[in-house]
Symmetry: C2
Subunit: 464 residues, 2 copies
């Protein structure tokens, strides 16, 4: 931490504003929208990257987005369309003239078409599929047959393959004569006569080798295939763990059905992180900064509702001790401190556990050791802050009994926080649930209830 705080942003010369459109260009775009001038708008957007245009569309408020699309919908191509966030893609599609949409879809890789149509209703989906030629349509339909969030949905069917007995020279001649090749490809995948993927050769190796070398002699050690039924999170993990650039996807019979490239794996990694962080905070995991008020309320109310239930549980613990509080109001003053420290310590442990599970650094092989560590840390932190709070209470209220009680309650609650923070996510994970999803609510309920119970209970037993 000390190390990171030394990062001085000023020393870096290229900052956020050097990427994407600059302020002047944004002002021109704004003016063009205001003036309803579609020629000026097109001219301003022309030099922009599709990803930046998509971001611009996402950031517009809904009514202004409609105005924008009235001026610009005819210019939206496949690249822009695949960059637009799912949350507003349907709105955009609706405003695109049918022939423009059809043209855009025809330009897209099969994996991008799958991503586009999988969330549409049947009639919109059929309309888009109808725009494709038969081969592309079959590829998209094959992908859609795999479960949502599977490798089969992520892959593109456009694959460059060669028999393993070919030479480098043969392969290069084949690539030069082939009319159609994917936009981006990094490997030639080796296949046997039954279309089983048996290895791959990087293009760099292909280019650097003598023409008479056999492809099978250039195959990479790092070769591994991905099942079309693998979960997309596992796909992202494999790419990140093994530094893959692209990986062949195979069906149940080990036959090659497609390929996944690292840029898609990177996007999934990004999404999975996003989900974790939003779930930990109790926000719907599809929230974006561009959602409307109603969408936002809809995402957050369920979590606040769950929280009110846990808060009521904590309140009913307090209610048991009403007469103790009436006798010694200092209890009411101090009790939130015990609960709050427990909540914080629990969140710390929980976050480390959820991250560890997500990155697979926390696994069966070290779970027992991690639990033991968290319990020890909980006891040590409990002792430290127990002493601190006992000291503060002594200075504030001059009551040694009260000081002892809060010190003990702090130790109990930080121990409970550690246990809840590590055991609840481990249990949810074991049950096949996402540990990020509901852990926070459970952990805080534990630390609130036990915090109040330990402090008020001990006070009643010792002081009154």
């Amino acid at each position: 931490m000390a190390d990171d705080s030394q990062r001085n942003e000023a020393q870096f010369e290229q900052d956020e504003d050097d990427f994407g459109p600059n302020a002047e260009l944004l002002a021109q775009i704004d003016a063009a929208i205001d003036a309803g001038d579609s020629d000026a708008l097109n001219a301003s957007l022309e030099p922009m990257h599709a990803a930046d245009i998509a971001d611009l569309i996402e950031r517009l408020a809904a009514p202004r987005r409609r105005t924008f699309l009235e001026l610009y919908a005819r210019q939206i191509d496949g690249e822009i369309l695949s960059e637009i966030d799912e949350s507003i893609r349907e709105d955009v599609i609706e405003q695109m003239p049918r022939e423009v949409l059809a043209e855009a879809v025809r330009e897209m890789d099969s994996d991008d078409v799958v991503d586009l149509v999988e969330d549409l209703d049947q009639s919109d989906r059929d309309q888009i599929l109808a725009a494709l030629d038969a081969g592309d349509r079959a590829a998209v339909q094959q992908s859609l047959a795999y479960p949502e969030y599977s490798a089969g949905r992520l892959m593109q069917s456009e694959v460059v393959t060669a028999p393993e007995h070919w030479t480098v020279g043969q392969t290069i001649r084949f690539l030069q004569s082939e009319e159609w090749l994917p936009e981006q490809f990094y490997h030639v995948i080796l296949v046997d006569p039954r279309r089983h993927a048996t290895g791959y050769v990087t293009l760099g190796r292909l280019l650097a080798s003598r023409h008479d070398t056999m492809l099978r002699d250039l195959a990479e050690d790092s070769f591994r295939t991905i099942s079309a039924y693998a979960e997309e999170g596992d796909v992202a993990y494999v790419f990140n763990q093994y530094h893959l650039i692209s990986a062949p996807v195979v069906d149940r019979h080990d036959r090659l059905v497609g390929v996944i490239t690292i840029d898609d794996a990177m996007a999934i990694l990004d999404e999975e992180h996003e989900e974790d962080i939003l779930r930990l905070a109790g926000v719907g995991d599809e929230s974006t900064i561009n959602d409307t008020v109603l969408q936002t309320v809809g995402q957050r109310v369920p979590w606040l509702g769950a929280n009110i239930v846990t808060a009521l549980a904590a309140a009913s613990v307090i209610a048991i001790f009403e007469s103790a509080i009436a006798q010694l109001v200092a209890l009411a003053v101090l009790m939130p401190i015990v609960a709050s420290m427990g909540g914080n310590a629990g969140t710390q442990t929980l976050t480390v556990a959820v991250r560890g599970l997500a990155t697979r650094d926390l696994s069966r092989s070290n779970a027992v050791r991690v639990v033991r560590r968290e319990v020890t840390v909980g006891l040590i932190n409990g002792a430290i802050f127990g002493v601190v709070m006992a000291g503060i209470t002594m200075l504030w209220f001059g009551d040694p009994g009260l000081a002892t009680v809060i010190g003990l309650a702090m130790i109990v609650n930080l121990l409970v926080a550690a246990l809840a923070g590590i055991l609840i996510p481990l249990a949810l994970n074991k049950l096949g649930a996402d540990p990020a999803l509901a852990s926070g609510t459970f952990v805080t309920m534990m630390t609130d209830v036990i915090g109040f119970l330990a402090f008020l209970g001990l006070a009643t037993a010792v002081l009154l």
Copy 2:
């Protein structure tokens, strides 16, 4: 959310355990360590990927790791060494025989050597640099001259370049005759006579084109250079935003000094997320699941210390109203509910804001609109849960005055939560600080203090 909860892990056929070493292999490894049998250990580890071996080493408890290294240190190569987490790398290096370390370092790409030595002390660093040949040493020293966390530190100096007036045939002949080429490369970077990067050609395009085509006619539209002084987080953003696979790095005079590939950008993206999530939870951002008890206590105590200060601030607000509580103990029962709901709502807003800033979805162009949305959402949620709590309070205590007071306090506190949750991270960002770093503490302090103040203050004014 509804959509995601339907994800049933059972439908995916390849799960976590299909990647990395299986349980049987792990048992063999454990047995070999116990028996002190280095041949058996080598045999078990032989089929494993370097990244999995590194993970295995990380997961061992410190004393067992020493035993492991006594048996295995001679087998550690450059690949394993570059996969090992910074937190334990120094321990590993210390146990490696000097000649094994020297050999490992000579195998590594320059960017991995930079990553290895940048955290070592001067004498260890010198020792490692001495093992390199002069050319590699110069490359590493050039990288180390750039600031920490800059693109210059991330890049590798091994670059494949060609003059833009070359033809495809010339380039392929050059690549075939070149003795040394990087392990992985995906583009040929075009340079002018003064070594300015002017474009790049993907290897796929090179292979698919006629031999007499000029390289400059094959250059990609997506070409963009990265300043060696750019921050690594910005580098990850650019790769993710523009789907880059590799990007040339240039110095202040726009001269080509290296190249960054997407696998490094993906690792940075992963680290930045990790930092955000750990900072939001108030855990030192270098925590790992494998830290010792003392390291863990050291990371967490500062944050718990900050929390105790904010909890004391909240307690002193309660202390002002001691006599009100003594008269009406129900206030003590209900007050944590108001504070807890505020804390939750504040965390929700905060998390969405921190994520939005990290992904650059929240920027100057939509900040005002987002603030307005959060305030509106805060008021609506306040109204919803104000009514809910008023109803519950009425049922529980049968006191319409108390019910009104808690309803109003809830509205006030959820409004404050929204304001604090969005304005505090925006302010920290504006000041050049990381909004994930301290926002949580500030936001909770606001919602605790205002929660107690609004509820107890209103109660005193209205009820007593």
